[in-house]
Symmetry: D3
Subunit: 329 residues, 6 copies
């Protein structure tokens, strides 16, 4: 019995070391990542019982992806295994101003893109669960993945499991029109929306004077239980600032803005989702959830790889004012 | 104007260091390789003017593959560039007895698999060339790649360019029946056949008492100008023995058998092809060609990666009896 | 509910790369290992549901050790966590003839050495289990660890869980006299004994003409259900031969002798234990168990680290004659 | 037939990883670099047909240097090979404020220092070329290298090839007096001068209120067709700002000032030269050339090694306002 | 005959590369460090004849620690060797804002913690020496180490060797009360005190309006010959500012405040001690000593590992205004 | 006061990892080595007080070379420092059968090649010493180095210090005729000659039926006190056999022949010299000296780098029959 179930693609990530360019490198650092995968791992590190559902090829790369979730205590028993499909990959290149970091996806025809409704055991997965999380990437993978996403959300609704969606628009996967049509449909099954101001505009055409207005417009159009918007400023590649706001029951909750020195910002938003959902599911306290999510995800930026290797204890300490940057001895 | 043109797939190769397994690794060493690519590079190192024809995605991985041929002086001006396809990849795992080394291909839907007749500038490529080399892997990639291979061979015949084929059967790509049908058809355009006893049996059903008999049966069935068969013994993963025989004008030519300590045997056969074709094209001397090919490819086993970083001078020295294993100072 | 429970120490292992000596190195490769830990992981890879019981400090090193078992699917919910003790470490140095590989332990006062009877939840751990495995290292760690080992064996006897012991004598931890006294006492709770000829002599003073005689003497003195003896020959550091015999119901079962090229032989014996116990627990077939254990552990020698990253499928293929050492494509 | 020919030394560069000091390191990262070599490669990446002329020892280090230019498509057929000389080397150490990065040269008696007039095939090299580029380093290598530089410039003048000089003063190679005498002489053959305010002062004793005045004084003294001055500010080791101005036909052209996070600033000026010359040679547009050169070279600072692995497309995007530092997906 | 003798623990330090977390890493960079060890090495690099006294296990790790001091010319002949104790270790994790760097000690029961009065040859060590340096860490290791520290200080007093103490409070090793009692006692043997405002408060309960007042209060309470206080500001993890003040003969001496880009700040304070003591012992000039100490230790922040691989020449150049951050060629 | 003084060149060694070729590598492992340097370090590890005399540039590379001798306890106070010369380098490439390992020297004009008689403090160096060791490489570096070598040998004779010479012929440095003339002259100052059968033939034209005869002919021609000849067989690159014989007082002493698995054979002969001289100087026992030298140098082959990181204890254990290749725990 788990607290949170997430569903989506996990890819093997290949990243050149030392700011080398893809074309230049002679080695890759290897890890695994993907929006909902990162959330499942981060939720497990926050202390939730989490389960990750995906479809993987039954080969060493697929096993690596499952292993590395299991390493953090994520339940992988609901993963669907395929004997023939390929593993999705992505190549990540780290930059320095004025060269932004970048990502080259190689995820066509991956096992999860070929998932179809009926393949996953949603009744088993949702039995006793409190929350289901998926991002806008999963339905963008393929029409059958979109159908499987809708199936999962409907099942979650039937099981009384709260549905959280990270809007996450990926221009390489579909057009804004396609995203709008599909995501608008899925919003009827959604209780919790997590997004950025920009994605909100690209997918739903919603703009506002400020983050609060965007949150309120989302709330008005779709009637979510709670909306969270993450806020990032990019003055350079190595330094960002990071925060979020949450709208719940008409009230806006905020968190401190953290200055972050960036080792690897991939998965920052996913860490927010996990921290926020942990606080929200555990304590039903949107203020605490927002602050926990922001502190936990601020820490993520300091860690190489998609995953957040911090502990809940570290996030709570930071929340409570642990801004001391002396060496911890 | 080039001496030799080769045509086939080049993949980015990802290999864990230090005998680690794919499922276990946290980094990959990166290089590029593929049968005909390896031959083009090795021929360039032998001193031939060589050109490599393939189809590559116009992204950093595709550029890397072209660059690394160009690094050795291979002409890459006839490569066909694609704005949408993906790069073929393969994962290589190095073993130790009793665990054999192994390879996991991820090459579906690569740019070269989607090549079609008419895409490559064969008239430009073959202008003044002496030899065209392709392996049985290229037509196995897809029906359109098979058609493009046939087109290339016909063009070579028209240009009076000798056609060399390395039979190279890949069970992951097609069945023995498919291979038999396609390769039998292509043999009519073939002047030089390079193969192993085992592939000969798997593709053409030809067996013999010994290597000589196999060579003679091949000769009888297809009427090749020359046939070369490489001979490998695998007493362990780290130690092999390696040689070849050549049948030309009814005469069998042999080379010494080398004991090889194996750093990386991938591309060993391709180095033989390059060394053999160099000797054959340059001097029309099958005995010299066989000995040069074997010496050059024996050296390949000591070098990491698909490519043979030896020089012609080193191969010639070994041929002339340089079995001294003291440190060269 | 698990098939097999193992109990013992897991250490963080620090090993210089590239045959460097400890005194010389500027980096360490990190992994985790320990006799019973290795068995738990290897059993999980064989397809058993396995659980590992130990005591770990609640710090990043302790969490790493638990994570890396969990990565392979081992249940770690019965691990006892300590807020104050230290993590056991060991330093491993890889050699080349005539310099043998060597190990420097730094395991004094580790959390597991400070375990005491009553700390672990044996009733929970053994509920529904089929087999309990421990080695002679665990009781050697400290008197309280010896008492905890005896407690575990008694509990296993009460739950009807078969008790397997790997005799494993460690001269750095106790004298032969101490080992003899303690292990002789523990043998009354033991159903399955796994050992080497040498350890048998050092702990019990049992010698024989050959391995069979040693097995029979063990059987006669202690009345085990089954005895397994592993056989290693060390002609050099990089090449060994490896096999085992099993005595069950008066019959000796043997396995083929494998020549192994050695990447890392640490954990070879543990892989045998896991493979043997898997076959024995699943099928009650000592012949199959012996052959499976030897094939699986022969493969271990080719893999860096204490753990066996092979699959059951690979072990079964090797058992069935897969001696082909060509590249698997 | 090439667009641009460059002439100078290429060295093998040895750099400790991770900010280690030379005295401290146990490994070196290897690449190749040198002012005019960097320009040849960067021009090839900009899309020009470029050729690099130097003199190299015919050993693995010399071949590596030629290979790595060829990797980017640079023509290396005009390189002069020596059977006896040594390869120039340099050691690079990366710092952090207040420790500046530093370089230790080991280039005495390199093959290129021993070049003499008559050795290189300038008529072949300049046939059809548009531009010849050399820096103040080449004549500083030795008197015979200075004579060969003068020979090359005269030949370029004869062939109607525009001559570009990067003033580049190296205090380790010659005194300011020597530089003044030699460079003043060479200026009569020079059409395009690229320099910094500081080098201008050190070599020609020219100072000014600001960069513009320096450019105008250079123009007045030597009558160049065009003068470019690069502008760097060093507030710290890891952050610089970077720009340039160009004086042409009496008009000053400027480019935006870029803030750059520094991975490796070696070769930054060379990238400017290549970008500037590309724009100038292709379009005869000093404004575009200045902006292209600055954008392309700003990107260089983010890439390890002497070479600029960016593409022209990336430089053009940055020029057109691509200051977005989000991850490119 | 040496100038300076230091006494304390040296540990083997294990640090994950690339900002990885301990729990996450698969390798450690290895070096050796410890407060007084770092001072001994840094003093040797400053040109003093220095000797380091400790107690080490006679195994490869103990030898590594002695070797790496000897590498810099430190005399290690007074080290006490143990055949049974263990080597102290520490794990260092590098962070990025808002995650501070941190250290996990594993130093219990190290050979030096088990040192006892009478074990070290203090008469031999102090023969002709000018200065003895120890920190507040050494007496905190164990009661016997505290007794040995007191013995050493008394011996130093007898030999007329000036005693320098770095107050260095370590909360993991003892309480503030224990530290207060022990260190107050040791102050009677102390001539030179080096500390920070914070440690002064934690150990002696001394606070002040500013650094000067703290220095004066220390002077008043204990009557030291000279007091030095280092000043660090931590606006982020990667950027700090660094300086110090010295109180001597009633006068306050100051040094410039350096902005430092941080590669590794461990050992920064120790470098100050070494630089300061060098200046003070050599020239009896507190102003020069303060400035030399600050310049030398500012440079330390740019170097990986505990040790300062700069030269005295570099420190002097920085003192004299070498703020130029261009590449040193 | 030292036991043994050695004199010669130390170079920084740059070696590609993982059997990569020089032309192919993107990194070098760094260490320091040179015949007499290796002997000085190995003698220090054997327990002798040793001193190394050379001439080094006063830059980070020169300091690294001195540091790394000092790390092992070698006295470096007699090294002559130069402010202008360069450091000798060598590039080492590791092979696999049939590709032998090889070395590319880059040592022209190194500081030691420019040494001249009168530069080194021989009276200081030899004060109280027992043995002086030099190889045939040092006089081959340059005429002035040959003169300095002769000066050193004469001074050693005057001080009653026994002179040991390792004949070591390097064809890259001089012709056999040059070597013959110079070395014949130096033999009059030589007490102990260490060589191989092959070098003996190349330098002195001495051949024999077997090793004994060669030793006897050397003895007869030059009247040495003792002659040692090392014996290597190269059946492959990764496996050799290794031994030596000693002729003293008309008697031949032999050592067992060791099979060695080769990690790095560079410095094997130097380790023999050090072990042999240790035994000979300490105990005047040629039998013990021969056996100690062979055991110690057999171990060297298992260690990366020029230096022998074994201990005397390990060498003595091997001598006494420690052929057990099990893991040392």
């Amino acid at each position: 019995m788990v607290d949170i179930v997430t569903f989506g693609e996990v890819m093997v990530r290949l990243a050149p070391p030392d700011y080398m360019r893809l074309e230049q490198t002679h080695s890759f650092n290897v890890c695994c990542g993907g929006g909902e995968y990162n959330v499942a791992v981060a939720a497990a590190r926050m202390g939730l019982a989490s389960s990750f559902v995906t479809r993987l090829p039954n080969n060493p790369l697929g096993r690596m992806a499952a292993n590395k979730a299991r390493e953090h205590g994520v339940d992988v028993s609901k993963i669907v295994w395929s004997d023939s499909d390929r593993m999705g990959l992505y190549f990540a290149e780290f930059g320095a101003k004025p060269r932004a970091s970048s990502v080259l996806y190689d995820r066509q025809d991956s096992a999860i893109a070929n998932i179809e409704p009926g393949m996953a055991d949603w009744d088993g997965a949702f039995n006793g669960a409190k929350c289901f999380h998926v991002s806008g990437i999963t339905p963008a993978l393929s029409p059958s993945a979109a159908a499987a996403t809708k199936e999962a959300m409907q099942k979650a609704n039937q099981h009384g499991v709260k549905v959280s969606v990270d809007l996450n628009y990926r221009a390489k996967l579909w057009t804004q029109e396609e995203a709008n049509r599909c995501m608008t449909d899925l919003m009827q099954h959604t209780d919790i929306l997590i997004t950025t101001e920009e994605d909100c505009n690209r997918v739903f055409g919603i703009e506002g004077e400020d983050y609060e207005e965007v949150a309120r417009k989302l709330y008005e159009r779709f009637g979510f239980e709670v909306v969270a918007i993450t806020l990032r400023e990019n003055p350079s590649v190595w330094f960002n600032s990071w925060s979020a706001i949450v709208l719940h029951g008409g009230t806006i909750y905020t968190a401190p803005k953290y200055d972050v020195e960036i080792v690897d910002r991939v998965g920052g938003g996913d860490s927010f989702s996990a921290g926020f959902l942990t606080g929200y599911v555990e304590k039903d306290d949107p203020d605490y959830a927002c602050k926990l999510g922001v502190a936990f995800s601020a820490l993520k930026h300091s860690i190489p790889g998609d995953l957040n290797w911090c502990t809940r204890d570290e996030a709570e300490k930071l929340m409570k004012g642990g801004g001391n940057l002396r060496i911890v001895r």
